[in-house]
Each structure stands twice: as structure tokens, then as C-alpha cells.
Symmetry: D2
Subunit: 495 residues, 4 copies
């Protein structure tokens, strides 16, 4: 089965909890809320203390599948995954990776200081160099995941204290990372000095939680406290439960300004989450408005409205922003539901016949004819990757009788790969590259009457900067914020 | 596990196709598009002709689960379910019905004229009487489904011709039914004289299709041709392929006016379907408008808007209607996305702790705080059944900081059971009954600042009547359009 | 996957229990002990009385697979299958019959007198005639199993009393049958007037049990009481629990002498069972002795012994008999274990390469070289059907260095089909037919130095007749004891 | 679920093949034939060369379950596990070890010289010391298996050549090991200097195979060539295919004499295998004879025979030996089949009621009454561990009417744990310990008329020594052949 990505794919969700009698169940809910960040595999590790043996035991369950599939047997949560602290992980969706079961996170190992488990969201850019170095020193690799590196570096640290070991290890890696680390007695949250991926801290009663997105807090009635700062290592232990304070450490990596992944705002995060210090919903609305400023669509005459439709559900919020600004600017516009999405279509999918090529899109989307028929339609999408789905959506809308179709995108053209945790198809598959960035060509390929991308400048104007935020926009600009000379291709470290 | 219904549950989707080389795959897609009408079980029966043996063979596969689960092994469709005609069925969702596997449809039997298979959407009201009569005559029942009755009646008919047998059988049953019936050489569509449940006819290339909803036609590029008329029996056979005409027969049941189930417009059908001769989307929009007429919400002052939110996704369209009319009527209103729904939460679900009672709703819904905070919020829902979910949604919105919450419902109070195919909880569980229809009590139970239901009159004003449509509203009014003295309770015919 | 039968296949095991608080578990064990009689599918139906509703409820669970697979979830036995009476069924092994799930027994239906469930071992020879007649009367068939006929006949009986209805029904069918029937208040055991298939009665504490083989009694510490007599209908009800007496009725079918299936002694039954009034072990020993009388093998000289080996495990006991008699007759013989059988190889089996054709046999059997090398080997088997496995076993033994191989069979040549419950391959596949009964040809095809079948006369001399037993030997002789003109071929009643 | 061992459990089977186009399938068959050595889990690793990329790829599939379960999807063998060399592993059976999925073998890792995979049969006695040392050096452990140690030692070796690295690693470990190791270009077989566990070399056409037992050669038509010698490392590479010679290296460990595990002869190995240079069947026969010498049973009078029965299937061969010698010594004896074993009862098993405690044994064994009734019965078993099963077997035989029961065992009393790869229950559970080695007490506990164990001296007389063989008998004598001071308990290295 070939991959069916027409959206960039994030690398994962992490979650951690410290000091909760039902740590595994809380983690389960935290993963459930973050399912959108990874649908391929899921896992939880818990730590329990056996007072009789005066010993910590770790418990692990992980497998391919959605959170609800992996943990469908409730006894796994209640009987196997005992303990009062836990970390969890959702992994993003690829197809057929039957050989990499060992890569499912959290990774759990034993070393001289006891057990340690780790969940990772991000991508290490000096992975290859570090792996080579470690191998030369006689290290074996049991996974092909860059996350395993961290565990080796921790174990090889000359430090005695586990937190110092973690800091030691993280000071050696480059790239994007947000970690949840569980040791016998501590929960450690860590974020790279550039703050690429989000990582938030919350409080659920007397226990502490960390998560990629704050929607994971809402589901368990936890309150958002703060973000783990870029370059910060935050340690939750018994003292934290007493004092209410987590110990904070700082990684040595220089940090002129953060490189938050701007795609978290554009597409990845749930609109009900707060990311990089701001509500995603609010940013998306602004993206829609900015798009309306740059690429308005006017009705053909005063009595008519242009019909503005979303591609459910990723562009819902931005569409509201577009409509309101386009209206404000004098272009009569109406928010409409012109596409209906079926949410039952998951990963198992019978391959269509050759003569029904577009059925894949049709199993997900159908048009509402009377909304579209004879109308001048604006379709708002968050991004265009390969363009395949967009072409077919446009065809559907055309078939429903739309008079004109104007495609508007709340991000610039995607032209470059991401080395910090997003999974795009090969650059040559990107429609922006295939059409050499030529808008006319893209318009023709999509089969629309006009196409408009949000400009990079306008995009950067639309995202918050009031708290010192700054962003990585490498996939649009090709300007990679750190040296990526050493980048490993995936193929090179497969078995 | 107890049932978790907070919406009425429809009894199913039917689908049939005649004269298509890939009948099973077409049926699979047709069922996929109609998944919302039944998530408990799914099945397909095909008929193939073995020229060598000069004989028709029937092939069947059915099981509990979503369409994609039941048919996840593609070879089932391509190798087992061969043939050029097929019928399929989706069954609605209940919990734990492990003992009634035999009830999964289509039912397939062999009798003196050959094989016959049947898919049913509806409920037969004289089921008990007929069953008793048949049993007295020495008939055995292998299922507890009322659909089996039809097969016995067909087989016992004195007629020789299969179509005549079907008509004979259907003339004996009362209640709501839309059938897809497959015989060795024919596909038969039939609808009760009152037209309770929808049943549409389409054309896919040279083949003919029938389906409960027209969204099943869109997915396979079939064109809507017409509805099977109330009381009509439509027969597709070899001649139909040549002449383009299906033979039409009429059931004897008197038919003063139809009794279309008005809930198909309110909730069941997909908005992109055409039902009872009208686009569902268009009707829902009108329901929203009518609701705004009857139960407007005014902003507290001129500078403000009331925030109008939908409960995704069932009230999306109606909400648009409400906003536009409320605005038009001078009540500044803004359509907003205040609730985010997770579509990953399906049937497997870990039971929450006692102290996390509302987590069930939270795994499905989360609020967008900055949309709701400090606002006068109108929430539009299509119906309130037990009210449990509504109470918890209101709590979520309150927690998000809404200043006021006004609950508006695009249907009247549900006070009565349905005997024609919808599955409600026991009448005493209905909030409208629990509160004796007292709006003040309901308001208090929901915890809102006001509540408004669409009146029955206004509801009937909002649905189409231009083509002679008329509707069953028994669940609101208690006025059952046919004699239901003989009604069988479910318990009475269980093994 | 093609069928891999090189033994005739029996049609099933039945089991029933009345008046035991743990009826389902007892049935589970009874089926487990009779697993050898059917490995394709298994099922249990229980009856429980709901005092509150004053009503009997029936509970059913059945599926493809071994007993331990079908009932691997213990809660099925303890929570679903409640009640104090039960019947069960194991079905014999075929390959790939994915379309006949409905045929799995017990069959459970509801009719005017309540619920009724049935388990059947045997084959009805006037099935087709009855089916046609019933169909003409307007009866539908939901399975392709001849067992369904009985249920229709019971329901259509003019009698009021259930036992009378059963007798009425059974008086109309011909052929081989042993039934366990469960009604709301009774357990009924019935056996055809010829007593083709075994059916025994036992007592477990105060409860009553029936089973195809007595090994099902041993596992639950039940005592063998008697056989259900040919033509007898035995009814267990509340009175039986009080009086210790089951009511006995007699079928009307004439019964000059029984037609016990002689293959029960030759191959089907477990040696630890008592069948047709005699220990199977004792009969098999006698078969071995008779074979030694008819087809002795002499050592080449006085100092040597011939090596006599079994084909584990079906010919183990007969081999002991052969050795002891051959010795007694002056032919020095030694019982040896020359073939080792792997018991891990079940139904799932990776198809071998073309160049490894005999690997199928090798996954089951391996030789013990030092036992066979240089020896004159006698191999004892119970029967030869197609001969394929035999040829390969002989090759294995030859490869192990045997000097001579003498094949001895404890049954006559199989030349005819069975219409009473055994499943042979097509007659033209039988080695005895392929070689036209020519011993020299068979010898050559098997690749042995001599071959000897037990004669029909000698076979009949070896089985018990002291209690009026007589036997069906139609598969050897072609003399069918009843009129089989009406015999239905299987293909004719498939969907 | 508690463990149900009443036999010592071996640690595993290994298999390897080099230079075969169908390496995975051959390995599958080789594991199938060795299923008796491990039923908990199974796995295969293959190596394929990608000429285009000039690179070796490794492919792995492993899971809990029997070989046929783990590889039930044939495409795993044919499409995933491509390549011309492979190793495989079966793991022994424990219950419920749901947390140690990572421990399933083969282990596959990547290190500076490429990929390396390993299968292990045995137990490393200095595991704990090595693990501590490695952990101090900064090594992480991803499994709790002692096998992982080897991989770390290989990777940390200062040698450049892979074979030298392996030798380096193996020279550091103590205890029992037979390894199959697969590198990019080589298959390596290695056996500890004491030769505890078997490891044989065979040839299948032009390819080379290694296996724990030679029965794995028979199934794929491979010929036995030789054993890997104690302390030998044998390397198969491209040169071997050309020259027909494997390179042989020697481990440095001193080797006065081998310590073959004598239990391989008593119980573990299949009788059709050749182990430690001798046919297992021949040895077992001798064990039976020796037992008859030491512990004869005489008939009560001249006219009678004692009945000697086996416990199928492990004591089959020894029983033949006992009978023949007991007869020869003038004690009239008859080999009989008094116990029937059901081979359908596998791992899934419904827990019996309290009042049916012995049903567990009854689901496996039943008696043949007419064989045992009124007889003086000798039962031959290979060993008694906890005695639980024996007690129940004796009860069964007693219930069948045996006059006297004499229990004879082809091994001495088991009193000590094994540190070299066998899994016994805790010493205090062993019947020999519970009864302090008092024969009278054991007799009473078993409920027999006499009991006789083979003496250690006689045991050692019965096994081959002609090729310099000598044996470990520590479980009987407590004399451990190597220093085991450092022994790790399992609990200490669990997560």
C-alpha cells in the first residue's frame, strides 16, 4: 500500500504524568486527545514502587494502531500498567512499516542507574554523526529511531546524577526535540534550545502533567501552567509534590531566538490547544483574515455573495477568518458548508479500481450540491502538498455545478523538505516544485479559476511575536535555521 | 456495557445494485457512504451465474463491525463475493448484542423458487401478530428480526412468480419498510405505502442502484433517478438492462398521504443526501431559520454579537441557518466554532473512573476557550433525547467562561417512543418526560440561561410539502399514524 | 487450499446435559474429549430459566475452530452460556468452507412451543425429497444442512406435545442420525432405528448426560449408564431428576437388525471409548490379531524378528494385537516405534514448494532410523483412502533403510462412498478404485514388498455380535442397507 | 494464570541456514520440527543482498505463539523474509510473560560492522557480572535476556573482523550456550566449551544448516554432517559454498571434558533426533532396560503378565526397553497402551472448577479400562518434577481398576535447580525435596504400591561415553560442574 499523505505529517505526541494514582489511565486520555498528532502506533510506560522489595518496576505496553486499539483491553491499563507516574507516545501514520515494531515509543531500557523510558517528538539533525561515533565506540542499535541515541548518551554520561546525565546527553544532540523521560523516581521534560516542537506543563490536582498540546490537559481537567521553555529541562520528583516546584535546568545550546515550527499553527495542532503561548484557534482566524487581505475574492455583482467553504476539518477556523475579513473589505461573502466529510474512513481501505481513481477522495468527502450550484466558490485550505487531493476536491466541486472556483491557502508554497520532524513526500512530488512555483501552472493543474497562497511575510505577520516567539519557515523558504550538513537520510540507518 | 445513546438511532441503511461486473465493490462503497445509518454490523450478498452449471450461486459475508472492519480483507470482495448483482446492509449501533449474530442482514435463504436475500430498513408493526400466525402454522424462526417474517411470507405465497410473491408478502405487513431484495435473477426495491423510510433509485453506467440515501450514489458516480414511491415495488431484471425500464408494481395498502419520518431531515440523513425529494442540507438550513424566528437570542448591547455554536457535526448546517436569520432579524450573531470534536473515538472505549464522569463527553468534545470566554453563547442542537450529553456540553461551555448559555433545538420535545424504526431509550429516560415538558425544569436541568425547542407547527412549516410530502411526527405528538395496538415489544421475541 | 484428507472423516460429535448448575462447562469438557470427531467448528446452546419473568432463555455461542479456540474466552462459558441444561456439537474438518457459517451446530430456533436447539451426528438419506416437499409447502431454508429439516418437521407436526412432535419428525426421516435436542424444559436424545452412529447415556452426580462417545463421560466423572437404543427417543426432564428415570419412546421405523457403522471401531472412536456396547480398544486389538491371522509376516530367519510399527496414533492398539498374534503363530515379531508424530501441526500450514512435495507428511511424521535400518518392517494402518500419505510414509521408511516393507491394513479395501455420515474423497480418488482392487497394482503404487487388507469376513468376525449388533459395511461392499435412490448430492443444496 | 509445568522446560531451539534461495521457508520447517523445544514464541531473521545498493538488508518477524501461529500468513515467509541466509529460534513455554516481548529471539541489532542477529539456546552463568560491568561502562539494556550481553560484547570488541569479535565475546561468557549468529555475510555456529546444549551441522543440497536437533534436518531432506564441537566456532560464508569447508575456530575456555545435559537424552530431545553423537531413541531404550534391571516388577504368578504402560508420548521408547528387559529377566511383562493422550489441548485452557481439580489432567489423559482393570500395572515416566500430574495419573489408573500400581522413572530424583538452561519450579516444589528424598513418603504421596527411580550410576552407565562424552547431572547430584557463585536470579534483571 502506498502512503496517502496529502498533508505534512507531524512526528508525534508526547505525554507524561507524575504523582497520580491512576497514571496510566490519565496518560491514555492524554494520548486520546492527541490522536491527531500520530495514528500509527501508541504506547505507555509506567513506573510503580514495590515497597516490599524497595524497588521500582517499569511496565510497558505499545503496539501499532490507534490509542483505542492499542489499549482496547481495559485490564492493560488497570492491571498491567500500574504505578503513579507514566509517559506515553503517539506515532505518526505511515503505511506498511511492518519491520519497525521495535521503533514504537516509549523506548524503555535498563542501565546502571536503573530503568529509563523516553518519548520523543521531533527530529535530531546530527543523528548520523552521533550514531557513527557511538558505533565506533562499540554501541549496538536495536532500533532505527533517532531517539535511541539519547538513551545511549545518557548511559554513557560521566555524570552520576540522572538529571545531569540527561542534560549531558541533550547538550550533544542538535535539531528538534520535545522529550518526556521517566526514570525510577522522576519525570523529566525537555525541549530543544530552539523550541521547535511544543511542550506544555499542567497540573491535575496534586499531580503534574506534560503534553505536546494543551488539549491533553483539558480532557483530564488539568490546568495549563506554562510551556517548557526552549532549552529548558524540567524535573518533577517527590519534592515537586511537596513544594509545588519543578527543578529547572538549562541546556547549553545557544539560543538567539526560537525556531517554533510555524506549521503547528497552520495545520498540526488542534484549534482548541494553546501552543507557543497562544490559542491555535485565534492564530488560524488571523491566518484566514490575512489571506483575505492578500487574496480577496469579489462577487460578480452587488446582489451576490461569494460562497466560502472549508475543507473539513483542518481549515474550519481559518475559513471563518477569511469570510469575516473579506466581508469587511466589501466583498460580500458567505461561510458555507459545501463539503461533507465522512469520519468513518480510517486506515483500512479497500483499494479502488483503476476506473474509480478518485473514489479515495470520495470516501472521505462529498459535496452539498445546492450550496455550490451556480456559485462563485472560494475554497480555503491550510496547505497544498502534492496537490492530488486538491485536484480531486476541485473536480468534485466543479461537478456539483460551481460557476467559479477560487483556491485560497493559509500558507505559502511548500517547496523544501523538513528536517525537524515533519514528514513531507519527496520534494519532486510537491506541486509547488512540480510547477516551479508558477501560479498559472498550479492554477491549471488544480483546475481552478484562481489560486492564492498566503505570502511568507503575511504569514509571519499573522503569528504571535509578543512573547519573543520566532519561527522556522524552512519548508517555505529553504532557509534552514541550523547547519544541516550532517543530515541522515532515513534509508541509511535501516536494517 | 450500557448503551450510550444520546441521539435516536436509525435502524439501518440498505443498498442494492443490478448488472454491474463489480457488484460487491460498488455495494461496499455504497455501505461506506451510509455508515452513519448503522455502525453495529454490515453485510453483503451477491448473486453470480454459473453458465456451466446453468445455475445461480449466492455468496454472503456479514459480521459485527464497521464496513471497513467487516470487509477489511479485500479478497472477500474480490474472490468470495463474485457476481453482477448484490445487496448490502448496515445495522445500527447497540452495545453487547453478542447473541444476535444471526440477525445481521442481509438475510439469505433458499426456497422453492431458488435463493432470496433481503435487506431491511424500518420496523414492522404487526410483526407479533404475523409471527404468531406463522408459528401456529408450523414455521420456525431462526432470528429475532422482524425481517425474517417477510421471507416466510414470500415462501408461503400461493403465487408462482417471485415478484408476485414479494407483493403478496408485503401486502400482509404493516409499518415502516424499505427493502432491497435479491433473487436469482432480479433486484427488487420496495417501500411501504406510507413511505416512512427513504429509498432512492440511481443509475451507474448501465447498471441500476438503490440506496437509503443518495450520498451512496455520489461515491460511485451514480446518478439519482427517482425515489421508489411509497407503496411501490420496483423490479430490475435483464429486461431493465435492455430497455432502461424497471417494472413497477403497487402495494395494496391504502395511502391517503405519506408518513415520511421527519427525523431523517432533523438528524439521520447526511446533509449531502437528497431525501423525500429534497436536499437535506436545504431543509436543515430552514430548520435553523425557523428556530431563529421562534427562539431568537438578542445580544446584550448593540456593539456585541451573540456567539452561535454548533454541536459538530450534526447541527452544523442548521446553525448556519439560525445565524443568518437571527442576524436578519436584527440580532447581531456570529457563527463560531466553539466545540471541537474528536473523530477518533469510536466504539471501543475504556470506561472512565467514577470521579471522571464527564470524561466520556470530553473524549469527544473540547471547547475553544477564547471563542466562548465572556460571551453570550447560543448552542444549536438537532434534538435532545436523555439530555445527559447536553448537560455535560453545557458544563464544558460554562467552564470555558461563557457569560450566558442559550440552548436551541431544531426539533420539538421528544416524548414518545417510535414504532417505525428509530431506537430511543425508554420514555422515562427522555428529559422532556422526566421534566414533564416543563421548560423551566429542563432549563435548570441543562444548567442554561434559556432553552428553546422548535415548535411542531414551525417544524412542519420548515419541511417540504410541495410534492405531496407529509410526515410522521409521532415521537413529538404521540399521534401514531397507524394502529399500533399489536405492537411487539422487543423482549417478547428474544430467544 | 485443497482438502488434505487421507482418512475418512466422521460427521461430528454431539453432547447434552440436563440438570447441572454448570451445564456449559460440562459441555465444553464433553466436546473437548470428543474433539477428534470434528475439528472444523464447535458450538454450545444452553437453556436458563428466568423465575422473575417465568420464562426460559436460550443462549448460544458457536464458531469455526477447535473447541479451545471457540471457547477461549472463559466469560463465554461462565457469563453468556448460563443455565442448567445444554447441548453441544463438534463439526468435522473441511477446508475453506467460509460460506457456511450458518451451518455450524447446534441450530437454535423459536417456534410455537418455544425455543428448540439441535445437534446432529449422521446423514439423512431422504433429505432431498423432504426438502423439496417442505419447499413446495412454502418453507425457507437458512442453512444447507440436513439438520434444519428436522426443525421444520417438528414445527409442522400436528402434535401439541414437544416430544410427540420430535417423534413425528423423526419418523419421517431416513438415514443415520444421533440427535441431542434441547427444548425449554427437556433434553431429548434420539437415535435412528438402525443405530448407525453411537449415542450413549451417562450420569454425572444427579444430572444426566448424553454423548457420541463415552470418553466424554470420563472427563467429567460421569458414569456410563447405557446406549440410547436404535430407534429410541429418550427424554430427560424434571421428573427424571426426581425419579431417576428418563422416558423412553420408540420410533416407528422397522428395525430388523442394526447397521452400526463399523468404521467407528476401525478408526473414528477413541480407543478409550465404549461404542456399540464394547470397548473400542478391545475391538482394535482383535482387528490386529485377525489381520495377523490373514496376513502374517514371517522373519527371514529364526534369529530375527520382524519389526512391526504403528502409524501414530490411530493404529497403535491394532498394532499390539498384530504383534501378539503374529508371535503366537510362530512369526517372531517386535512392536516398535518407528514413526514419530508431531502433534503441533494443525490446520494452518504453509504450502510447501514444488520440490518438497513430501514435506507435508514430514511435518507430521519422521522415522527413527536405528529402529528401521536393515529391518523387515511391517507397518499397520487402520485404512487406506487415497493412498497419498501411505506412499510417502513408505518412502520415509525406505529412506530410513528398511530392508523390506509390508503394509497391513485393519480394514478391507474402501471402494464406495458413504451416505451415512462419513466423508470420503470422490470414489475415483480411492486407491482401491484407481487400482481396480488389484493387490499387485496397489503394492506397486505404495512401493511396498507386500500389502494385506483384512477381509470383510474376518472383519465381521472380529467385531462384537453378542448383543445383537450388526454392521453397515457399505463402503467396502457397496451393499447399502437401505434404499438410497433419493440421495442428495451436496452440491445440489448449496446456496 | 499460573504455570503448569510438570516437566522441566528446555530453553529453546536454534536453527540457521546459509546459501539457500528459500532460506526463510527452510528455517520455518526447521523450527516446526523443533517445536517441542519451545512453544512460547518463535522468530526468523533473514539477510538479503541488494545488488543495486550493494548493501545487505535484514528482515525480521517474531511473535508469541507456536511456529504455525507466528508464521500463519504465508506472505511473511515469501515476501517479507527474503534472502538466502537465515536464523530462527523457538522459545520455551511460560505463562503470561506479556511484558517481555522484546526478549523474543532472534535479537537483531546494527553496529559498526553492519547488522547482526543471534539465536541462543542455553544460559549464561556470569550474566550478572557481565551486565553490571557493561552497565558501568555506559551500556543500556533493552531486553532482560542474557543473550543481549553477547551482542554488546561483540560490538565492544577491539577486533575488526566479525568472527574475531564473536570469539572475543564468547571467550568472556560462562555457562551453557549454543548460538546461531547471522552477520551481513556469514552464518556462525558456536557452542560453549562444555558442550552443554546440542548443536548439529547438516547439508541441504549446496546449502549449510545448523540446528539444535537433527530432526530439523530430516524435515528438509538435509543430511547430518557433524556436531559443532564443544568450544568450537564454525563459520559459513561464500568460501564455504565453493570449497565445502566451514572455517573452524576454538574458544579459549579450558575443556577437560564435556558437560552434556543428560536431560536431552531423558526428556527434551525427540527420539528421532541424534544428539551428542547418538540416537536419542537408542539411549531411551537403554534407560528403560537399566530401569528394569534396577527396579523390576514381577507378576504375582506364572500365568500372569505385569502390564507396563507409557505416559504418552515422552516415555514411549523407554517403556519398550523396560518391557523387553523385564521379560528377559523372567518377569512376564506386556507392553500396553493404558493411557490415551489428547493432542488437541494446547495453551488456551479454561480453568476448571474447584471441585474438578483433576480435570486438567483429564483433558490430556484418559485410561483404557479393560487394559488396566484387575491388573498389576507398571507405569514408566521419564522424570517426576513436582509430582502433581503423577498423583492424578495414578488416581486415574486406580479408578480404572488397576490392582497394583508400580511407578518407575527413567531418571534419578530431581532435587536441585538447573543453571544451564532448564526451567524447573522452585526447589521446594520438587516432590523429591518435599519428601526429603524418602522413597516411602514419595510412594505414599503418589499413592502407588512401589516407586523406583533409576540410580545416577545406572543412568550414567546407560548413556554413551564412547566418543568422549561426559555429562552434567547437577539437577540430581547438586554438583555443579562450574563455579556458579555469580548466578543471577531472574528477578534481579527484570524491568
Amino acid at each position: 500500500m502506498t502512503k496517502f499523505i496529502d498533508k505534512p505529517q507531524d512526528h508525534c505526541a508526547v505525554f507524561g504524568i507524575y504523582g497520580h494514582p491512576d497514571a496510566a489511565k490519565m496518560t491514555y486520555y492524554g494520548l486520546l486527545a492527541q490522536q491527531h498528532r500520530g495514528q500509527e502506533a501508541s504506547g505507555i510506560v509506567t513506573s510503580s514502587f514495590n515497597a516490599k522489595l524497595n524497588k521500582h518496576h517499569f511496565h510497558i505496553h505499545k503496539d501499532f494502531g490507534l490509542v483505542n486499539d492499542v489499549f482496547k483491553d481495559e485490564t492493560i491499563l488497570s492491571e498491567l500498567l500500574v504505578g503513579d507516574s507514566a509517559i506515553g507516545h503517539n506515532r505518526y501514520s505511515t503505511a506498511g512499516a511492518s519491520d519497525n515494531k521495535l521503533n514504537i515509543q516509549p523506548l524503555l531500557v535498563n542501565y546502571r542507574n536503573g530503568n529509563i523510558a523516553i518519548s520523543h517528538n521531533g527530529n535530531l539533525t546530527n543523528f548520523r554523526k552521533l550514531r557513527n561515533k557511538l558505533q565506533e565506540e562499540g554501541t549496538i542499535f536495536q532500533t532505527t529511531s533517532d531517539t535511541e541515541i539519547i538513551l545511549h548518551l545518557i548511559a554513557k554520561s560521566k555524570q552520576d546524577d540522572q538529571v545531569r546525565q540527561v542534560i549531558d546527553a541533550l547538550n550533544q544532540v542538535e535539531g528538534a526535540f520535545s522529550f518526556a523521560i521517566l526514570t525510577n523516581e522522576k519525570l523529566i521534560a525537555a525541549r530543544d534550545p530552539y523550541g521547535w516542537r511544543p511542550l506544555a506543563v499542567g497540573k491535575a490536582g496534586s499531580s503534574y502533567v506534560i503534553a505536546s498540546e494543551t488539549c491533553a490537559f483539558d480532557i483530564i481537567d488539568a490546568e495549563y501552567v506554562c510551556d517548557v521553555e526552549p532549552g529548558e529541562v524540567l524535573v518533577f520528583d517527590k519534592d515537586t509534590l511537596k513544594t509545588g516546584e519543578a527543578k529547572s535546568f538549562r541546556l547549553s545550546g545557544k539560543r538567539e531566538k526560537p525556531n517554533h515550527c510555524i506549521f503547528e499553527y497552520i495545520y498540526f495542532s488542534r484549534p482548541d490547544s494553546r501552543v507557543f503561548g497562544e490559542s491555535v484557534d485565534r492564530v488560524r482566524r488571523k491566518l484566514g483574515k490575512s489571506l483575505a487581505e492578500e487574496h480577496p475574492v469579489k462577487p460578480d455583482n452587488q446582489d451576490e455573495s461569494v460562497i466560502v467553504i472549508n475543507v473539513p476539518d483542518s481549515s474550519n477556523t481559518a475559513t471563518l477568518g477569511y469570510v469575516s475579513r473579506n466581508n469587511k473589505n466589501g466583498n460580500k461573502s458567505k461561510y458555507e458548508i459545501g463539503l461533507i466529510r465522512s469520519h468513518y474512513v480510517g486506515r483500512t481501505f479497500i483499494q479502488p479500481q483503476q476506473d474509480l481513481r478518485e473514489i479515495k477522495v470520495k470516501t472521505k468527502f462529498n459535496t452539498v450540491r445546492n450550496v455550490l450550484k451556480g456559485k462563485k466558490v472560494v475554497i480555503i485550505d491550510d496547505s497544498i502538498v502534492r496537490g492530488t487531493t486538491s485536484v480531486q476536491l476541485v473536480k468534485l466541486i466543479r461537478d456539483a455545478g460551481a460557476k467559479e472556483i477560487h483556491f485560497r491557502v493559509t500558507s505559502p508554497m511548500i517547496k523544501y523538505p523538513c528536517h525537524f520532524g515533519m514528514d513531507f513526500p519527496n520534494p519532486e512530488e510537491l506541486i509547488a516544485n512540480r510547477c516551479s512555483g508558477d501560479l498559472e501552472m498550479i492554477k491549471n493543474e488544480l483546475g481552478v479559476d484562481s489560486v492564492g497562497y498566503l505570502s511568507l511575510e503575511k504569514l509571519l505577520d499573522s503569528v504571535p511575536v509578543d512573547k519573543g516567539q520566532s519561527y522556522c519557515t524552512a519548508c517555505f523558504s529553504g532557509q534552514f535555521p541550523i547547519n544541516i550538513a550532517d543530515l541522515s537520510s532515513k534509508d541509511e540507518h535501516e536494517f
